[in-house]
């Protein structure tokens, strides 16, 4: 099958890929995790893991996608060997399972944008009650449908006319909005206290292993490294396109945006909070929604004496969240679509199948926040396995051969040195093993029935669901790989 679509330029590819990386995790998850892990103490390990987890895996995804020119199932089979195509299928499944509930979250952001824009959000007395009424009703289902339909409309138009065109508008708009909010936040009275907390390290906290593990999971989460999404966009990069420099730009660009969002939220909370600011930032709330959907609306209502100005800032904040979620959702639906295209389906039919099944399978998360929390827990940790499978594929191929022939091959502007071999061969596997063990051990300690697969967040539910998916794909490995590769003979 001859490839027909490519991103039209380096900048188009970078903007689309920044759209993958920058999601709601940069804006609300990052601030909460920084607050829960001692402010500045968290930032040091977070920067280290950018260098030893995110950037190397983004390079790997770019290289695998560009060389294989096929979605994760075929790409992993081509890189690691046909026996391991199931690993690619698992990577696709994890990101697709996240897509089911991420569409619901995208819908929440859209709903809160409309509420802010209409001014209804500021007529509320109790924001927790307001949130609970919304989340426990049927409205999330409607906004889930709107979100997934909009994204399907973009993806069905293809890479150049759909994804590239949409991200070229959405990503720069998102950056401009974040910049406006950043300037407003740091010029609020007392904002400096928030900035101080954000950057002040606590030397006792920095030695706590949990801070380091949270820094790693945050990097795995918010850069999109190891999800398979960047791999799919790399399928559409031109042959002469560079890998290492583009990958570094995505990683550093993503974390730059996290810092901008973090400073904005900390400054706002410290400037406007009448109670303990840190408790508010670090509170989790149902499915980690506390800060964004319960506390920030309250702060926006107190930002200035003018309702119009408050409505403006609240509206653009939720619009930014919606844009961030939307561009990430585009890449998740493209990943599943590409996998079906590799299976022999036409794009239109593939998008229709993914959008309809995404809507149906996202319904439980839209109607019950515990289902969403469970899926977030199970497949969020599953991403670590996805990252491990990508590193494993490179090890099977030969790390040095992969580095010299593919990463440093035709089109590369800069060359990657031997340090890359040590990171992929030693550091990534160590990080995966430590991280998985930590998740499991801490999960056992907080749930006496850790083995029970019916609990929302414990080891049992994660292992149970992974086992079902892995068994299914391992059993069907031969068929999946044969069908994918036969449809994509050069």
């Amino acid at each position: 099958m001859k490839q027909q679509e490519f991103f039209s330029s380096r900048w188009a590819l970078i903007i689309a890929t920044v759209g993958i990386a920058v999601g709601t995790g940069n804006i609300w998850r990052f601030s909460r995790i920084v607050a829960q892990n001692g402010g500045g103490s968290f930032l040091i390990p977070w920067v280290i893991f950018l260098l030893i987890w995110s950037v190397p895996l983004i390079i790997a995804e770019f290289a695998i996608g560009k060389s294989a020119r096929i979605g994760p199932v075929g790409a992993i089979a081509k890189t690691a060997g046909k026996k391991f195509g199931w690993m690619g299928a698992f990577i696709v499944f994890v990101s697709t399972a996240i897509m089911f509930y991420y569409s619901v979250v995208t819908g929440w952001c859209l709903r809160y944008f409309f509420s802010s824009f209409s001014g209804n959000l500021f007529k509320v007395n109790d924001y927790l009650v307001y949130w609970n009424n919304f989340a426990n009703g049927s409205e999330p289902l409607f906004f889930h449908l709107i979100a997934i339909s909009f994204v399907a409309f973009v993806v069905i138009r293809g890479v150049t006319k759909g994804i590239e065109k949409a991200t070229k508008f959405l990503v720069p708009s998102l950056l401009i909005i974040l910049l406006i909010l950043f300037v407003r936040a740091i010029t609020l009275p007392n904002a400096i206290e928030g900035i101080k907390y954000f950057f002040t390290p606590d030397l006792e906290v920095i030695l706590d292993y949990k801070v380091w593990l949270n820094a790693l999971t945050q990097n795995a989460w918010d850069t999109g490294a190891g999800w398979g999404l960047i791999l799919v966009y790399a399928v559409y990069m031109r042959k002469k396109e560079d890998i290492p420099l583009n990958a570094a730009l995505i990683g550093f660009g993503n974390n730059t945006i996290s810092i901008v969002a973090g400073i904005t939220i900390f400054s706002t909370v410290f400037a406007l909070s009448s109670v303990d600011a840190m408790t508010q930032v670090s509170q989790s709330g149902p499915a980690n929604t506390g800060l964004t959907f319960i506390y920030l609306p309250l702060l926006f209502s107190k930002m200035t004496g003018s309702d119009t100005i408050n409505i403006f800032f609240a509206s653009i904040f939720f619009l930014a969240l919606f844009f961030a979620a939307f561009t990430s959702l585009i890449s998740m639906i493209e990943l599943s679509t590409r996998t079906l295209i590799d299976f022999g389906l036409k794009r239109k039919r593939a998008v229709a199948i993914i959008a309809i099944s995404g809507f149906i399978l996202g319904m439980p998360s839209a109607l019950n926040i515990n289902v969403l929390a469970n899926q977030d827990w199970v497949w969020g940790i599953g991403l670590i396995l996805s990252g491990a499978f990508i590193a494993f594929a490179i090890m099977r191929y030969g790390i040095d051969k992969f580095r010299t022939e593919i990463i440093n091959g035709y089109g590369s502007d800069i060359k990657i040195g031997k340090w890359y071999n040590y990171i992929i061969g030693i550091l990534i596997p160590i990080q995966v093993v430590v991280l998985i063990l930590w998740w499991l051990i801490s999960s056992v300690s907080w749930d006496p029935e850790w083995w029970n697969p019916l609990h929302v967040e414990n080891a049992g539910t994660a292992i149970f669901q992974w086992a079902i998916v892995l068994t299914f794909f391992i059993a069907l490995n031969k068929y999946i790989v044969a069908r994918t590769l036969n449809n994509n003979l050069d």
Binding site: V47, K240, F252
Partner: protein, 40 residues
Amino acid sequence: MEISTIITMVIVLGIVWGGLAFFLIRAIKYEKIKFKNGEK
């Protein structure tokens, strides 16, 4: 502002924002070279 806060700020912003600026400048430079060489 405490000295430890300033040091953390310099390290974090220096690496992340400095890294982004460094790679962005290089990417622009290479794109200009490619454009000069007639690639589009």
